[in-house]
């Protein structure tokens, strides 16, 4: 069969003409960043565990953009310009999020017009104060204070406090190579809590570990943590 080259040329022309049409949106460029804070102090949580939801109304059905906070309580989203509402769903996070009278999470209205930084104010049940974590002699030692922030009728007890050690920077109940905990009832002095954990053999060998302290509040799922520290020994 003879190939008619003019057809191929025409086909190429048609395809290229069809592609001329702009068929895609630009990716969102406005960034929304910030962190969880209590009176200016960052709230540390578990990696990929505490979610927040962004809603944008006016486009028919409503569904949330769900994201999670990083370990140090920071978050960042790339969004289109417009008005968003942000909530932390009920029962999430080691803190109290503002609620409406009906018990639904109260929303923060965010007007995106270019990038912005927005810290989210929350009230943690407890805070770990002045954590001092050091490593020596194959052990990780920690010394810290626990401050009870919520003291009203909704106050909650400490279930336990645990020192976590891991070989990577992700340190939590699920990600650790060593941990030592103490039950809430066994803590005698909230102003002087001491925990230490033995560093196990690490394969392949490394001369540093990451550690932080996590506090489990009774009846609350997510732990509140102290900042991660890198310990070289």
């Amino acid at each position: 069969m003879r190939i008619k080259f003019q057809f191929i040329g025409m086909l190429a022309l048609m395809i290229s003409a069809a592609s001329c049409k702009k068929d895609n949106f630009d990716a969102p460029t406005s960034s929304l960043k910030g962190k969880l804070v209590y009176q200016g102090e960052a709230i540390n949580v578990e990696h990929d565990r505490v979610p927040f939801e962004l809603y944008q109304y006016g486009f028919g059905k409503v569904g949330a953009i769900v994201q999670t906070f990083a370990q140090d309580g920071t978050y960042s989203s790339l969004l289109f310009n417009g008005t968003f509402k942000l909530i932390v769903p009920n029962g999430q996070g080691p803190f109290k999020w503002k609620q409406t009278a009906a018990g639904a999470p109260d929303s923060v209205t965010i007007n995106m017009n270019g990038s912005q930084v927005l810290d989210l104010e929350v009230t943690p049940y407890y805070l770990i104060r002045t954590p001092q974590i050091t490593a020596a002699g194959g052990k990780v030692m920690s010394n810290f204070k626990i401050e009870k922030i919520v003291t009203d009728a909704t106050a909650k007890d400490i279930e336990n406090v645990t020192l976590y050690v891991n070989k990577t920077q992700f340190v939590s109940g699920a990600d650790n190579i060593a941990n030592t905990g103490i039950g809430g009832g066994a803590i005698t002095d909230l102003n002087n809590v001491i925990l230490s954990a033995t560093i196990p053999n690490i394969v392949p060998t490394q001369n540093f570990v990451f550690a932080r302290i996590g506090l489990k509040i009774a009846g609350v799922e997510d732990r509140i943590f102290s900042p991660v520290v890198k310990l070289t020994f």
Partner: protein, 634 residues
């Protein structure tokens, strides 16, 4: 001239064809669609419709779906594509959900059309109606187990194209109303359902009096335990009662559960009993799921039939791989966590003995010895090293343990190597593994035995298996009765029911009423009903899921302590690997030793969050119907 005749003939033929009326010519009954009138014109046709509805029942962790069975740290999924089950840290909020209102609508339509059909006899009609209602109640029960209260739609709804959908938007019912509905339906349809006289093996595949009562007993028990144990997790509830049941309703539900179970136990709704046909108790236990002919244990099953198109490949997925009918299998590897939980014959809990008091390994001359003297359900549920399937011994051992304590192994099934200090090749690892990260080998050191079909061809892709999946069975009814009695303070009755199940498993020393505790109830269900789709829903209704799967890693020391405690952590599936001791001249040369291993693929730790107690209802559903409230803690 001739042409005129031809033309006339043609005109005549055409005009005769045109004599047919337009309506006759155009209105042709479609041959591919059965009309409603036809479908409900005789019992055989109704049965065809009903058959489709039976087929669409939703189950969890069935023989059609091996990997939902392999979850929850009760086993290790030995297929690399499913290794994420042990690498993730928990479950998505949407997991396990079901929202098939299309099915509910068809059930409702079926009931409505059955009602107005005129060509069926009254007894037929009543029976079909009862079956439809049974299926509807059972599906609502399945939804409630996963989602709590859902809109209870009992008539087919239709849209009038007005653009308004408000009247089609139903709010969620209370969780207690859902259970009440299931219980009430079971009560109402019981009279119209047949009694399973166990004359035909397939009778249990359709709704019977026994099935209705078993459903009622289970539903009432679930409601009772949610009412009672929900009090310990007040955050898992909604103010409107869509999730959570008030604690003061517990006693009434438990009473109902016990009464329903007693009806089955007393024999008034069918000839049910424990399956006790084989002398070997482990064989007997595994035969419950294999024996299709006159199985007194089966109350309601999903049946399969060879060469009918409705078959399943469970045996092919999970058979011991070495020498199997297809070069695959071995997917579900029960974990050591699960294996060690089986009691010793004196009713005590103990880890599998692998070291003596001073920490030295114990040398066994037979591979199966460390598992001896335990609950027969262990060997009936789990394919232990040193046992056989289809007449062929499984070959599960990880390698040689040398005199200096090091391990000499290979990285391929049945690999041959030269051992140090010897000449000549020899096999250094079992053909069934275990080999880390090698799929289809027994990576936990065990294979699954439950539901494995010993029939020839069951493990080949061209044949598959026709073993039924038992949804409700007699032993569960006994355990339901035991739990309800225990919760009502009737420990003596509870012990009586539980001891029947235990005696069948070789635990012949009866438990005294004082020994029946919550831990015992939890353990008994885990041992008896493992891999039957109960573990998730049981842990949910007792509100211990967040304690058992708490997201913390497990240490080997923790693994072997507190066995038999209901809230024992169970977040990572551990393995028990067998080694052949190699030390020529030593008395123990050639004997077996065991070691506890965490398979290297296990990097996650199951974390059951409060938001997992009730599966999420999708954003699309809630956007379509704003009356649907969101699940708690999500």
């Amino acid at each position: 001239m001739k042409n005129i005749y031809k033309l006339l003939l043609a005109a005549t033929v055409l005009s005769m064809g045109g004599c047919k009326k337009d309506s006759e010519f155009l209105n042709v009954e479609p041959t591919s669609i059965i009309t409603t009138d036809l479908a409900f014109s005789n019992p055989a046709n109704v049965l065809s419709v009903l058959g489709d509805l039976y087929n669409r029942q939703v189950d969890f962790s069935t023989v059609k779906d091996w990997y939902s069975m392999a979850d929850f740290s009760e086993s290790f999924p030995s297929e690399n594509g499913r290794a994420f089950l042990v690498q993730r840290n928990g479950w998505g909020y949407g997991e396990w959900g079901t929202w098939d209102y299309g099915y509910i609508r068809q059930l409702n339509l079926f009931l409505e059309r059955l009602e107005i059909s005129t060509s069926l006899t009254a007894p037929d009609k009543a029976k079909f109606k009862a079956e439809g209602r049974f299926l509807r109640a059972n599906y609502y029960f399945e939804m409630t187990k996963r989602l709590g209260g859902v809109p209870l739609i009992l008539t087919p709804l239709s849209y009038d194209f007005s653009g308004k959908t408000d009247d089609l938007q139903y709010a969620r019912s209370k969780e207690s109303e859902m259970y009440d509905f299931v219980i009430r339906e079971a009560e109402e349809i019981k009279g119209d359902l047949p009694t399973d006289g166990k004359a035909n093996a397939t009778d249990a595949a359709r709704a019977t009096k026994g099935a209705a009562m078993a459903m009622q007993a289970r539903a009432a028990l679930y409601a009772g335990s949610i009412a009672k144990y929900g009090a310990s997790t007040p955050q898992v509830s909604l103010p409107g009662g869509e999730v959570g049941i008030p604690a003061n309703m517990a006693v009434a539900y438990y009473t109902k559960a016990l009464a329903a179970a007693k009806e089955i136990i007393s024999g008034t709704v069918g000839n049910y009993g424990l399956y006790q046909k084989k002398a070997d108790l482990a064989d007997n236990f595994s035969s419950i799921f294999i024996d299709k002919g006159n199985n007194p244990e089966a109350i309601f099953i999903e049946d399969f039939k060879l060469k009918s198109g409705k078959v399943h490949y469970f045996t092919g997925w999970n058979q011991p791989r070495y020498g199997a009918e297809e070069e695959e299998g071995g997917r579900i590897n029960p974990s050591l966590n699960f294996v060690e939980s089986f009691e010793k014959l004196d009713n005590s809990f103990a880890p599998i003995p692998i070291t003596d008091g001073s920490g030295n390994p114990i040398y066994y001359s037979s591979q199966v010895d460390p598992f001896a003297g335990r609950d027969a359900r262990l060997a009936g549920t789990v394919m232990l090293p040193g046992t056989s399937f289809k007449g062929r011994p499984v070959d599960i051992w990880n390698g040689y343990l040398l005199a200096d304590g090091s391990v000499f192994s290979g990285d391929d099934r049945g690999q041959q190597k030269v051992l140090p200090g010897t000449t000549g090749l020899r096999q250094v690892v079992g053909f069934d593994g275990p080999i880390n990260a090698k799929e289809f080998t027994a990576q936990s050191g065990f294979y699954l035995r439950k539901y494995l079909d010993p029939a020839i061809g069951s493990g080949s892709r061209g044949t598959n298996s026709e073993l039924p999946f038992i949804r409700y069975r007699y032993a569960e009814v006994l355990l339901n009765a035991a739990e309800a009695a225990f919760e009502l303070g009737m420990s003596a009755d509870a012990a009586g029911y539980m001891n029947q199940v235990r005696a069948r498993a070789g635990l012949t020393t009866p438990l005294t009423p004082g020994e029946i505790t919550f831990d015992r109830i939890v353990h008994e269900r885990r041992a008896e009903l493992a891999f039957e789709g109960h573990v998730l829903f049981d842990h949910k209704r007792w509100r211990i899921a967040h304690q058992v799967w708490d997201g913390n890693k497990m240490s080997p020391a923790e693994l072997v302590t507190n066995i038999g405690k209901a809230t024992k952590r169970n977040t990572q599936p551990y393995a028990l690997w067998a080694y052949k001791y190699f030390n020529p001249g030593n008395a123990n040369d050639g004997k077996w030793v065991y070691r506890i291993v965490l398979p290297s693929l296990v990097t996650g730790a199951n974390n059951f969050q409060f938001g997992n107690y009730y599966s999420a209802i999708g954003d699309d559903i809630r956007a379509n119907n704003p009356k649907i409230v969101r699940q708690p803690n999500q």
